[in-house]
């Protein structure tokens, strides 16, 4: 009796220990993140002191004021303009890249036919697309959309092709043995196998798409974050340039963290156990 009581108390203590350590680890992790930011801002501040000119390298405080000013002014309108183009270009990329990737993954013939163009398209620098889009469309909505679509498409296609090659032959055979038709196999075996690869392609090309989208706005737009960066640059307003860049980075990270990562976790709930198994 005493033994079991002692045992259960010891277990409770052990469990408490485990909980404490888990909470402690989380606290330490957050502390390090905060520390990292503080060091970064500190270095920036020192560098600004050394340069000694708010016009050339503004201090963190000055930029922060600018950020607040932008947020009160027209940030949301500009941000919305950018995001609509990036998302539109991105959809175009997925819409074209997915079937291209399916073809490449499905047959040797199409793979040979499409492989080189896709790889070449993927290695062209984003700047080229930005310039091309401006030359073709001038200052318009479609320039950034095209640039984003072109830069993201090869990543989506290559990942989908990779996913197609990874489809488990044994599951296809199982479906055949149970008399499932080709459409059912495609829907229930092929698509779920390929989807994680599509998502990897999407996440990989998302940040790239943002960068190219912004770059294109610098040349060929009268709206959006890229345009704002150029305008502030032309006015020699360095705090404005940096403030816009910071806001851009911040919102890109937020979208990635809170939309893409969550969506991925939800869609691929089953994978968490696959990894453990």
């Amino acid at each position: 009796m005493t033994d079991t009581v002692a045992e259960s108390i010891r277990q409770d203590l052990d469990q408490g220990q485990v909980l404490r350590t888990a909470a402690g680890a989380r606290r330490r992790r957050y502390a390090l993140v905060v520390l990292g930011w503080l060091v970064f801002i500190g270095l920036w501040w020192l560098l600004a002191l050394w340069v000694g000119s708010e016009a050339r390298l503004p201090s963190p405080g000055r930029v922060f004021q600018e950020v607040l000013a932008i947020l009160q002014e027209d940030f949301w309108a500009q941000f919305w303009a950018s995001i609509v183009r990036v998302v539109a270009g991105f959809f175009a990329a997925v819409l074209i890249g997915t079937p291209v990737g399916l073809l490449m993954g499905r047959s040797k013939y199409w793979s040979n036919f499409l492989q080189s163009p896709v790889v070449v398209a993927g290695s062209i620098p984003g700047l080229t697309y930005a310039v091309m889009a401006f030359v073709v469309f001038g200052i318009s909505f479609w320039g950034p959309v095209l640039a984003v679509g072109l830069i993201a498409m090869p990543y989506v296609a290559i990942n989908v092709a990779e996913g197609m090659r990874g489809v488990d032959r044994r599951l296809v055979d199982m479906s055949t043995a149970y008399g499932r038709n080709e459409r059912q196999v495609f829907r229930h075996v092929v698509i779920p196998s390929v989807l994680p690869f599509v998502f990897a392609g999407v996440r990989l090309s998302f940040s790239l798409a943002w960068k190219v989208g912004t770059l294109t706005e610098v040349f060929g737009s009268s709206k959006g974050i890229g345009f704002q960066i150029r305008r502030n640059y032309q006015l020699f307003n360095m705090p404005g340039v940096i403030a816009w860049v910071l806001l851009f980075v911040l919102f890109m990270l937020l979208i990635e963290r809170f939309i893409l990562v969550r969506l991925e976790r939800r869609l691929f709930r089953w994978r968490q156990w696959e990894r453990e198994a």
Partner: protein
Amino acid sequence: MAQVVIKRLTKTFPPPTKGGDPVVAIGDISLEVEGNVFASIVGPSGCGKSTLLNILSGVETPTSGTVSVTESGRPAHLGYVFQDARLLPWRTVMDNMLYVRDDGEAGETRATRYLDMVGLSHTHDMFPGQLSGGMQQRVGIARAFSVEPDLLLMDEPFSHLDAITARSLRDHLQELWSATRKTVLFVTHDVVEAVQLSDRIIVLAPGGRIFDDITIDLPHPRRATDPKVATLQAEILGRFEEMHPAPAPA
């Protein structure tokens, strides 16, 4: 009561290396299996056992000869249990059961019944990755029974499991089979397992020819621990010894 008729069946695969000889998996087999029989096909690995099941299920096509699997004149419904469970990892256990034959509520009732029979009623909403290998295989078995097949094909379903799990699953299978009496073609390299489960054992030799055809006349369900089963296992193992004599004691 399915009827399986195999006539002069051969299957050769292209040579594995350039300029090599084609691989003969099945060399001219003729065979009939009929009625509520649990038939095992026994033979060493590489004698075309799995290929035979793949041809019967339409996953592969014969090189020559014909196979027909019918149930009173029409093509038979098949169930298939593989060496590995082959569940779709992105679908829950229940959705895996419904994938192979979805006829609404009736399908769900059947799926529930067979999951109960293999002792997995608590796993409906779990993903395959959450189950152990033995449990996944039980889902595979329940899935094969739940389509209420006329013919059930089983390809070494216990060979990837540890001995104790395999033994308990064989007893499970005996219970299920005695309750349903489907026509079964069961492929294995394990003679002892074949004797416990089957009414008929077809022995294949390397090169895919029929070497022997043995009838086992014992009532079902048979337990691995039943002395009658053990005696017969020893006797039939003895016959195989004649085929491959053990080294004489020094």
